[in-house]
């Protein structure tokens, strides 16, 4: 109990310090001499956020870029870390896995999410059906890791299975399987977790887009004798194309950065590592900040084109509107 009281005190002190800083800024801003008041006010409002961003994000990002050119002792080694990344077998496995992740997750999560959104559109119980598939979005990756490790749990063939997947294998007369240990397919079972989480996101956004399609268009297509499939490919898909691209790119970015799932389910062992996990392992576990920084930089370079594409698309939509 006193433990909790102490923590509460820490929070209260933290909030009080923060309030004091903000209060001080407001005081200074209000009392500034008339002549330069506007400038002081603007600076007072912007400075806290901008200073934090400069010190905590911009400068560190630049420093990381330099760090990627140094070795574990901080000596400059040129592109050695990148050479390591693209030649060492274990580092190559990491890159290969990341590519598999980034192809499969956006593709499958968006497809299933879209199919589901179409299936339940205006169906009875739509709200509840939506909530069920959307729920994993609220669950942490760590929690999802526990949930799925339990689904994949393994017991020897002579014992009762406690994992659902292995029980299903046994029911079909198969040997139980070490889903998370057997490379290379274990990566696929980790990917399934991410798909499970992201499908809900895709479904909600795409469902909202489908609801935005004017009923008149759908009705017209139907009167022209279009089948359900033709309606889907010729009316639904083209109309929601913008949202579809946003969904795919957003999931792509999230997948590139995926860390928690791999960290908690296999810790990147058994050939399941991905770039974001390897970055953490190298920088904070293996004492190789240079390699970690190089991996972070590669991550940045992979995310960059997707984000730029996404941002340009959003701007284009705004202009049309």
């Amino acid at each position: 109990m006193e433990d909790i009281a102490e923590k509460g005190l820490q929070v209260v002190v933290g909030l009080a310090v923060f309030a004091a800083i903000i209060g001080l800024i407001m005081l200074v801003v209000d009392r500034a001499p008339k002549s330069g008041r506007e400038k002081v006010q603007i600076a007072g409002f912007l400075a806290p956020a901008l200073v934090l961003l400069a010190v905590g994000l911009v400068f560190p990002a630049l420093q990381t870029s330099y760090l990627s050119l140094t070795d574990r002792n901080g000596d400059f080694v040129g592109l050695d870390n990148f050479v390591w990344m693209f030649t060492q077998p274990e580092a190559l496995v990491t890159l290969r896995n990341t590519v598999i992740w980034v192809v499969l997750v956006p593709l499958l999560a968006s497809s299933i999410g879209l199919a589901y959104a179409v299936f339940i559109d205006r169906a009875r119980g739509e709200k509840a059906l939506k909530a069920l598939v959307f729920m994993p979005m609220a669950i942490s990756f760590v929690g999802a890791g526990v949930i799925w490790r339990f689904v994949y749990a393994y017991k020897g063939p002579e014992q009762d299975q406690i994992g659902l997947f292995n029980q299903i294998l046994v029911w079909f007369g198969q040997e139980p399987k070490q889903f998370l240990l057997d490379a290379p397919e274990n990566t696929l079972f980790l990917i399934a977790v991410m798909i499970w989480i992201q499908t809900g996101f895709a479904m909600v956004v795409l469902s909202a887009a489908i609801k935005g399609i004017p009923t008149e268009i759908v009705e017209a297509a139907r009167l022209d004798g279009a089948s359900a499939w033709q309606q889907f490919t010729n009316v639904t898909i083209p109309t929601i194309r913008g949202s579809l691209i946003v969904v795919v790119t957003t999931i792509t970015i999230g997948t590139l950065k995926v860390f928690d799932i791999v960290r908690t389910m296999t810790a990147g062992q058994y050939e399941t590592s991905v770039v974001a996990n390897e970055m953490y392992t190298q920088a904070f576990r293996a004492g190789e900040p240079g390699r970690g920084a190089a991996l972070a930089l590669v991550l940045f370079l992979m995310v960059l084109p997707v984000v730029v594409y996404n941002a340009r698309l959003l701007r284009k939509q705004k202009e049309i509107r």
């Binding site: 979005m137 942490s140 920084a293």
Partner: protein
């Protein structure tokens, strides 16, 4: 190119009634009959069941006695109805150093997330207000730069930021952000949350009618008064949406916690503890199942209680990965 205005994609889960908008019932009904075939509904139900079973199995298991969890699958509860709250008592109680002690970590999560969210909201909305209504040179360029910072994966900042906190911001024995407290996590989370916060809140605050602000100015109100008396009350919906989003994001975080918390019961959040238990005692399912549920109960409550805001935040935050 056909596009979907994203703003239209906002009929939220709770808004989209089961029977569609009431104003065009006849048309709606006919379309509905054509589009929702039995097979589609059946497929949807199958997907919903597959998506729900893993979580359901975990929930059921968390109430089963230890021997049962480890002995056979959770589906055996159909015939063997033994339930207990023992697992929850076990994971929550302080106990010895071996016990999960989750209550302590649960408190940590709250102590990290609440100030982390408040700081981000206050600093973010202050900057957003100036970007929307301040008049100064270079405003647009600076705003685009802040927006672009969303591209930088937080992995890029971790290594230097940790060095900054532990080595640079240290004056003799005095650490500005002491290790072993929440302070480092608050600041780190605030920094990483600011680019998206500023961007989203700016979009909302910029839509506030200019006459309201002009009128206050004419009456002699400074930026401080306008911000607290007019902007904050009017921006409450946006603050709520982003606040919930940020709250969940921080609650579910693992990476930032791993780097900045040190890992003890003093500071580390529940996600980190759960990941630890998974790593060291991955077969202790009676603890993992109950522990996972303790950790996801808050996000689930937020999700089911505030679904509308949650979805709105999600749709608006499409760029965040």
């Amino acid at each position: 190119m056909s596009t979907v205005p994203l703003e239209n994609t906002k009929p939220l889960l709770t808004d989209a009634g089961e029977d569609g908008p009431p104003e065009r019932p006849a048309l709606q009904k006919r379309v509905k009959q054509r589009l929702t075939s039995r097979t589609a509904t059946a497929a949807a139900v199958i997907i919903a069941v597959i998506w729900t079973i893993p979580t359901f199995g975990l929930l059921v298991s968390s109430f089963r006695p230890e021997d049962n969890i480890k002995g056979n699958g959770w589906w055996n509860v159909i015939t063997d109805r033994q339930f207990t709250l023992e697992n929850y008592a076990d994971v929550l109680s302080p106990g010895g150093s071996q016990s999960p002690n989750l209550l302590s970590y649960f408190v940590n999560s709250l102590a990290i997330v609440i100030p982390g969210t408040i700081f981000t909201l206050v600093l973010g909305s202050m900057a957003a207000y100036m970007f929307a209504w301040g008049r100064f040179r270079g405003k647009d360029g600076l705003f685009i730069f802040v927006f672009a910072l969303q591209i930088v994966p937080l992995q890029m900042a971790l290594i230097p930021l940790l060095q900054l906190f532990t080595q640079v911001l240290k004056f003799g024995d005095f650490q500005l952000l002491p290790s072993g407290t929440y302070a480092q996590l608050w600041v780190a989370h605030t920094i990483f949350g600011l680019p998206l916060a500023i961007f989203l809140l700016h979009n909302f605050i910029a839509e506030i009618p200019g006459e309201v602000i002009e009128a206050a100015r004419v009456d002699g109100a400074g930026h401080g008064t306008i911000f607290w008396r007019i902007i904050i009350p009017l921006a409450t919906p946006a603050l709520a949406s982003f606040g919930i989003f940020q709250f969940l994001w921080l609650w579910n975080d693992l990476l930032v916690a791993l780097v900045f918390s040190g890992g003890g019961a003093d500071v580390a959040p529940i996600t980190q503890r759960l990941a630890e238990i998974q790593g060291s005692r991955g077969g202790e399912w009676q603890r993992l199942t109950a522990g996972a549920f303790v950790s996801i109960i808050v996000p689930l409550a937020v999700f089911f209680g505030l679904q509308r805001y949650f979805v709105r935040g999600l749709l608006a935050g499409g760029l965040k990965g």
